[in-house]
Amino acid sequence: MPPMPSVPPMPPMPSVPLAPGTTREGGWQESSGPAGFSGPFATSGLIGSSVIRPDAVDKARGDFAFSSDLWAEGMLWGKVLRSPYPSARILSIDTARAQQMSGVMAVLTWADLPGDQVFGLEAKDQPVFAHDMVRYSGEPIAAVAATHPELARQAADAIVVDFEPGPPLVDPDEALSAPAIHEEGNVFRHIALRHGDIEAEGDVVVEGTYEVGMQDQAFMGPESGLAIPSSDGSVDLYISTQWLHVDRDQVAACLGLPPELVRLHLAGVGGAFGAREDITIQVQLCLLALRTRRPVKMVFSRAESFLGHVHRHPARMWYRHHARRDGTLVKVEARIVLDGGAYMSSSAAVIANATCFAAGPYRVPSAAVDGFAVRTNNPPCGAMRGFGAVQVCFAYESQMDRLADALQMDPIELRLKNAICPTDRLITGQVVGGTAPVAEVIRAAAEAPLPEPASGDLLELPGGAGRCAEYDKVVRGTGFAVGFKNLLYSEGFDDFSTARCRLDGDMATITCAAAEVGQGFVTLARQVATETLGVTKVRILSGDTNEIGSAGSTSASRQSWMSGGAVLEACKAVADRILSMAADTLQVRPETLRLSGGHVVSGDGIPLISLDDLTRGKPVEESVVFHHRPTDPLDSEGQGNAHVSFAFVAHKAVVDVDVELGLVRVVQLSTAQDVGKVLNPLQLLGQIEGGTLQGVGLAVMEELLVADGIVQNPSFTDYLIPTALDAPDIVVARLVEEPDPLAPFGAKGAGEMPAISSTPAVVSAIRDATGLALSRVPVRPQDIANG
């Protein structure tokens, strides 16, 4: 194994100050939110302050080791051969020529896999290597290891596969009745949600059909990793992932090894957004390393990345809203079909979210929603930021605008009138509970000031650098949307996180396998340790899968709550032990003592004993497993207390549209979000701005185009994500801080919400500018220009 450099602990990380008038230290005062970030450093490092990321310096210098940056002596390069066909029988696979090539050290297929042939997050239905069938274009068939990446590519090309292509099943509606393309059938899950009086009728009825295209997470750091075999038959895998332990379990099962012989280590992760929740290269890398007895590195090209990970489910949604004349919602009917592609991934959970949240954050007494996630020969779909809540939010918010129009009512007023409260029930029958400041986020976003009119500078007009819009053809529009989503895992899943805290002298070491993917958990963990233990020297380790238990996935807006909670409880357990040790020594009651500045101090802050004296050389260590409250499965009618907590968000969008050319420039998005409590204002702002822009991308440009099962645009040349020129001004109108009684610190997860209501708000604004119905995202120029 290459040497592990020993790394000294970090000095206290500075933080940038909060907005004027905001007090943070030592308490939970209300915040007006992050309005400005200038001025000298503060150094409290406490919860609620804008502590700087501990990895920021190395990332800025280019010294941070991402999974694609790793290197080992004698390393080989891996490459995967993929199916060009979305549906085909494999008649034969001939690897002879590839194996004879100079520099090629292994060519492996399904026959070389010692353990399970299939893997999957929810059901094991996806082959590691295709055997007799391929079910999507991009499905792995063989893997190669060679001494140079170009040789590996040539060797993969030299494998001869005899395919018998068949007609692909690509229409998700047809999949419901078509012959099964997999032994597990074509329907991953159907939820027939029925709530209240399903015969109820409203005075006013609006109906619509909506579509969401296939969005890609398009993180910057491609799938990559390094597997290093050991002589005892075990393997170390350095990998970018969202969940080390579930990767480990799937990899070990496919390798036919006990889990403890497969050690996964978190390598630097270049973004995730859901696409790293499923394994991609993990099994192939380990297998190549074990077979060649050499370290093997693999890095996906961008095209492979687009083919190799799951995407956001495309959706077709039919809706019918019933309301009374005064705007009170009576009933929502919906049929939602998500295209899950060839394999299940997390489709069953995504359709559960889409179904449960189909009516939006509104008081809806009756509902009949049929949610289907189906199997096709399209690329597999799974987790992406918002996880089912994004698709339905576009539909139900489009419906709310349509309803407001039918009622000749102000759309904000309609939403306020129906805004759900903590004592109301969702359409799943679950009482919302906790906090639900829906009206507050609606009001704050709606009241945000509007931007100046377009300047006339060509670069600022729709089309931007293309300089093609005409100023007098540009129409400004304003739109609004509100959305919500569950936090943490649902439907009875045993969701937990594990953390260990060790205090040695005045240095704390936190070990937690929570995947840092850019969201800033490492910063938060430091803040928690500093706040709880009164020390500024804090090391954060992710450990490997043998050193610490699972922290669960970095998804579902859960790590601040779950792993933040685990770190908090571990630190508290250590603090309690130290305080009772000190109390024994000092002959006082532990309640009279606390930790501050590296000392045990009296109630009025006078240092009594240093932590150095108490623990140097005799460290105090505690581990905890942190659970959230249990949830229940949904019953046969989609009813049940299936979710832990919810967060709410609203966006107001302003767009400029060249109505003749169909070009859109998103000018501004103002947002208000239910965050419970602000833990790190600067990092929260980063989540809001980044998530909002991903929603803008879905609204106006991002779609993986799939024709007859084949992805047409697997590159950043053709799959467009917003650039700096596309980015609107994003204004945080308000962060609503109503602490969630269940959450550590009262803080709700904040990562997903910004990506939910931003998309429908932008489309609503384009409708306002054009008068068009626009029932599909992304909105394309021809949708506007052709009306």
Binding site: G62, D69, A146, A465, E516, G686
Partner: protein, 232 residues
């Protein structure tokens, strides 16, 4: 289906070429590399300089932005052989071209001439000289140190102002786009010390970021502008 283990482990694709590179003030000789290798691959995989990132390898994302003879380019689009004899600056070299604050004379740091050959018992070692192994950190990534006993301010002072600004303004999340953006913004501010908002947007529109929504990156540009102008 393993192939026999007696095939030489060090084999190159056909057509090799000698390349002489000058990177961040140091000279490197690569006597025999595959002619198809681009500058990005050579930096990352042969020379132990993985700071330039490999997000698309087709010039669309800007993550591998470097300066070649002072011109901002995507290293993935430059054949390594074409970069022979040119002056290359990567993200690793940005801060190191500044005056070393620890050096009271204020002189630029001495550059070190160094020759790397890839001959090892007559065999080409594809992954670069063994000395590189210790220079590429294995992941201990959540425990990244910024110190060698230095204060945080001391560490910052040894970085390029654009790098400092990125750290201080929250412009970094996953950080994969950061090195390319840092190089691109340093280049922008070098040519245009006080760019308008639109000039900033256009200048970095070739650098994709998926995490930040660009808001904090715009803030970092302004902070860097102030640092460079001495008004921060």
């Amino acid at each position: 289906m393993d192939t026999s283990a007696n095939k030489d482990r060090a084999v190159l694709p056909e057509s090799t070429v000698r390349v002489d590179l000058r990177i961040n003030g140091r000279n490197y000789v690569l006597p025999d590399i595959w002619i198809g290798e681009n500058l990005l691959y050579v930096l990352r995989e042969r020379l132990g300089l993985p700071g330039s990132k490999n997000a698309c390898e087709q010039g669309e994302c800007g993550s591998c932005s470097v300066l070649v003879d002072g011109v901002l380019v995507c290293a993935c689009l430059v054949p390594a052989a074409d970069a022979s004899g040119r002056e290359i600056t990567t993200v690793e070299g940005l801060g190191r071209t500044l005056a070393d604050p620890a050096d009271s004379s204020g002189k630029h740091q001495e550059v070190q001439e160094e020759e790397l050959t890839q001959q090892e018992e007559g065999v080409q070692e594809l992954s670069g000289p063994a000395m590189i192994a210790s220079s590429i950190p294995m992941p201990q990534l959540q425990d990244i140190s910024v110190t060698d006993g230095m204060s945080f301010e001391g560490v910052l002072s040894r970085m390029h102002p654009v790098q400092q600004a990125f750290v201080m303004t929250g412009a970094i999340q996953c950080g994969f786009c950061t090195p390319g953006l840092v190089v691109a913004i340093a280049d922008l501010l070098n040519h245009n010390p006080h760019p308008s908002s639109l000039q900033v947007r256009e200048a970095i529109s070739g650098n994709l970021c998926r995490c930040t929504g660009y808001g904090r990156i715009f803030a970092a540009v302004r902070r860097a502008e102030e640092l460079l102008a001495g008004t921060a």
